[in-house]
Symmetry: C2
């Protein structure tokens, strides 16, 4: 993955110009979950309207998103739930399990290791690692915690491509560097720090306090607006000057 060395036109395997917009990619897992829920309640066919409302989006967006994958519906009828579910799972790449390692087995690491939706959604935890000798050897969610140095061995053995960082912020960059050096190319970072990684490595971050602060901003705005609305008696058609 050198940086733009001149338009290598390697168009991918299956068929045509397979470029799915990022915004769509981020919603495919939501559709997958909604389809699974529909299938579990015995529904075999659904309209874009049905699926959209189960996924919490509007139907135009859903149809547009699905159109990037291909034409998997039937006009006048709708979508076959199982068929569409398979197509989306295949597109995402979760028809088989991805091996995953988790580094940092504190409170959060524990919770992640015990998270059951993991296994059922295309992932398999192959190792838990921590630098703290106190934790090493303990069994969490049926897996023995290994020393951090065992990372390379584990990653090679299981051909791991995805790593999860659940360490304190100070350790996160070191862990990421190590992961990258060993060949991990996708990182999910729960530590509250900005990770620097080379081109070609994907990082996604999950940050509790950022999410709360975004809510706080809107909450404050609601409060301010309420005050303003009470102070200025409501003027429909908002008077000029």
């Amino acid at each position: 993955m050198r940086l733009e060395s001149g338009a290598v036109s390697a168009r991918s395997s299956t068929d045509a110009s397979r470029v799915i917009p990022e915004a769509t990619v981020a919603r495919l897992p939501v559709y997958l979950r909604a389809l699974t829920a529909l299938a579990d309640s015995g529904i075999r066919t659904c309209s874009s309207e049905d699926l959209a409302s189960a996924a919490g989006v509007n139907s135009a967006k859903l149809r547009k998103d699905l159109s990037y994958l291909g034409s998997y519906g039937t006009r006048g009828v709708g979508y076959d739930v199982d068929y569409l579910r398979y197509q989306i799972a295949r597109e995402i790449g979760v028809t088989q399990d991805w091996p995953v390692v988790i580094v940092g087995i504190g409170n959060l690491g524990h919770a992640l290791a015990n998270f059951s939706g993991f296994r059922s959604r295309g992932f398999r935890i192959v190792a838990l690692l921590d630098a703290d000798p106190e934790l090493v050897g303990q069994t969490v969610a049926g897996v023995q915690v290994q020393p951090f140095d065992a990372l390379e061995e584990t990653v090679r053995t299981h051909d791991v491509a995805i790593g999860v960082i659940a360490t304190p912020a100070v350790a996160a960059q070191d862990v990421a560097d190590r992961m990258v050096a060993i060949g991990i190319t996708s990182i999910l970072n729960f530590a509250p720090s900005v990770l620097a990684v080379p081109e070609g490595v994907d990082v996604r971050k999950v940050d509790l306090s950022i999410e709360l602060q975004i809510l706080a901003y809107h909450e404050q705005r609601k409060a301010n607006d309420a005050v303003a609305a009470a102070a200025v008696p409501v003027t429909v058609d908002g008077g000029a000057s």
Copy 2:
């Protein structure tokens, strides 16, 4: 918050047309954290370039984002770290603490309750609640777990506006309904389910398996591209058939 009843022009308190784009709002907490890190290492002034790289964005975006808040920098010089930090904190609304309740004290709820960055970033956990009688009465992170029915009392007493849902998926909608009924207007949802809430209530969701699936998609694409690149010997300037 009636649905669009005719352009009420309640422009907010402080000054002009205060409309900060959503994308910017989502980055302000990142800037706040980066500024705190800079301040902690004794830096008193920084350029947009410095702050941008600490926050992991480019400087044009940073400057554009800050321009929505006002003109808090000095041309030819840069930004005063403490001053800018205060302005952003004020804008987000975290100059004082927001009281927060957490519902669902399983593995994840435990981890959230113990998360220290909480307190230091503008939030204060005022209650932990769970429907499981086994958990009620236990002390987690110095707070006693209360029965779920204590929600209303707690929310009124502490004037809580923000609730965190860390229950299993099946319970999430019920919890959300209850929160909304009691007057909570911002929800952070960790349960893997789509929440339906009325207009005026903000929901943000954090979903581990969705994040992993997004990574899996890109991982799969990298793998496919590598195969394609190996099969088709690289043609610079991709020859038109």
